[in-house]
Symmetry: C2
């Protein structure tokens, strides 16, 4: 566990509840000290790493480190591919997600969390235009590489998130890179936005960023040199709604602005003739091919 | 991800929120299909397991699989010790905890979650009589083996839980043992109560149960033969409040009732001269010694 703070609550009602299977009710008292804002990092350390820097894997919004473990159709994820390629890996759950835990609302977190429906995920992850419970009634983009037969399986690994918690999450990520030292950050979606921001804050520690389908960008431009970035884009952005065009433009604008002084490489898969990737290239049928392109860039 | 169901929500308000770093607001629509009730199991598979059955590690209330990974003071946890001993391991997050995710309340889960304070943990985990923010003002039981200097670190791995979700959690655990097949379940506290219940339901699959400081027990006695159980108890139960005496009595009564037909072994550490263990023997300073006693029983 890395980072986090302590909140003190008082004046809240004390309940009596059964807290175990067929247990007698006992006191449940929420008044006192609560940890919040910490994150979770699972460290995979090779006996003989062949690469000088560890890889930090940061998931996207409404996800956990499970993103990187196994694809929804059961193939090895990028976690294993990075280990095979000789990198030590930290597979992370951002503050408020998964094993990182979350805090009471409205007492510590001000708002309730936001949950993702299968309908929203289908569209936001650019699988197709429309989800339906009956898989035969779903619209799928032609050439889709996401394992669509396992989409419902995939929905089971989604977790809630809280909007407007960026400062808390970034604080824990910065504490993580301070603890790890020089590192490579490979991050997805909302997590890639965080990675770009942490690289802006700590170019002394973040040596490379792989921003897979980044969502969100820093509000201000860097005042000091940035490390090299690889930006990976999948397919079907234009037909997936105005917010997708907005995310793409936000990223394009940031990288255009910093490209005079920083080494920014774009791996636009459809522009290179690789069609059909979803928002999750690390889960798509060509996940190993995309991985090879990422590792080739890192090794260059 | 294992188990779980789908809920359909409708009629809820649609919001517009920024969901990524400095992102433009986009539609957030909670109406539609939500996965809930699934659990998470992280499978550690040895190249050459030396034991015929895998170990399923089930955490206690308000915890995740992180319980088994590393002790709060940074020593290897039982996850690693079981791997070293030649067992394949499934390190689990129960439904609603950690990477297993949780669902909207009051729409799918009826109630809000319950959070644990440092004050409550200090007493419930039998560290001492009183927590204080200033560590010099804390009461610690004499001979305490929990790494008390790392207690605040430990608070950062606690997660909320929902009372009255036993059926949902048990359903996912039963789906897990169905998927894994014959297995050993090593479980702690609330999770040990669940393990005893799942062994009662599925003695065809659960071949051994190690119930570490069990909290909660089945409401009904088994109708068919139970697998052998090892029940592990730490110290300082009597001075830790009436609910502790209740948990102990609930377990003692169940095991006394089944012991005519089942092989029940009690490892009462203080009764064997090992004083000072907390509610978390797998985190205490003698965690490796307790582990050796557990593994010796398994191998017998």
């Amino acid at each position: 566990m890395v980072g986090g703070k302590t909140a003190v609550l008082s004046g809240l009602p004390v309940e009596h509840r059964s807290m175990v299977l067929n247990g007698a009710p006992r006191e449940v008292n929420p008044n006192g000290h609560h940890a919040y804002g910490q994150m979770y990092a699972q460290h995979f350390q090779l006996a003989s790493p062949r690469q000088p820097l560890p890889v930090l894997l940061w998931h996207g919004g409404g996800m956990t480190g499970a993103t990187w473990e196994t694809t929804p159709d059961g193939r090895p994820g990028w976690l294993w591919r990075f280990l095979e390629a000789g990198y030590d890996v930290f597979c992370c759950d951002a503050a408020e997600r998964g094993r990182a835990s979350f805090a009471m609302s409205p007492h510590i977190y001000r708002e309730p969390p936001v949950f993702r429906t299968a309908e929203e995920g289908w569209k936001t992850f650019r699988i197709g235009r429309q989800y339906a419970r009956d898989s035969s009634e779903r619209h799928v983009f032609a050439g889709q590489r996401f394992p669509v037969d396992c989409f419902d399986e995939f929905t089971r690994q989604w977790v809630p998130r809280w909007p407007a918690h960026e400062d808390m999450i970034l604080e824990a990520y910065e504490a993580l890179v301070e603890r790890v030292g020089k590192c490579i950050v490979v991050a997805h979606s909302q997590g890639a936005g965080f990675a770009v921001e942490i690289a802006r804050r700590r170019p002394d520690l973040v040596q490379r960023v792989v921003a897979v389908e980044p969502g969100g960008m820093p509000a201000v431009l860097p005042s000091k040199g940035l490390p090299p970035h690889l930006v990976v884009w999948g397919d079907h952005i234009a037909p997936s709604g105005s917010h997708w065009m907005g995310y793409r433009k936000q990223a394009d604008d940031y990288f255009a602005a910093v490209s005079e002084t920083a080494d920014i490489t774009t791996l636009d898969l459809p522009a290179q003739g690789v069609r059909g990737n979803s928002h999750f290239p690390m889960m798509d049928s060509n996940s190993d091919d995309v991985f090879q392109r990422v590792v080739a860039w890192l090794e260059r």
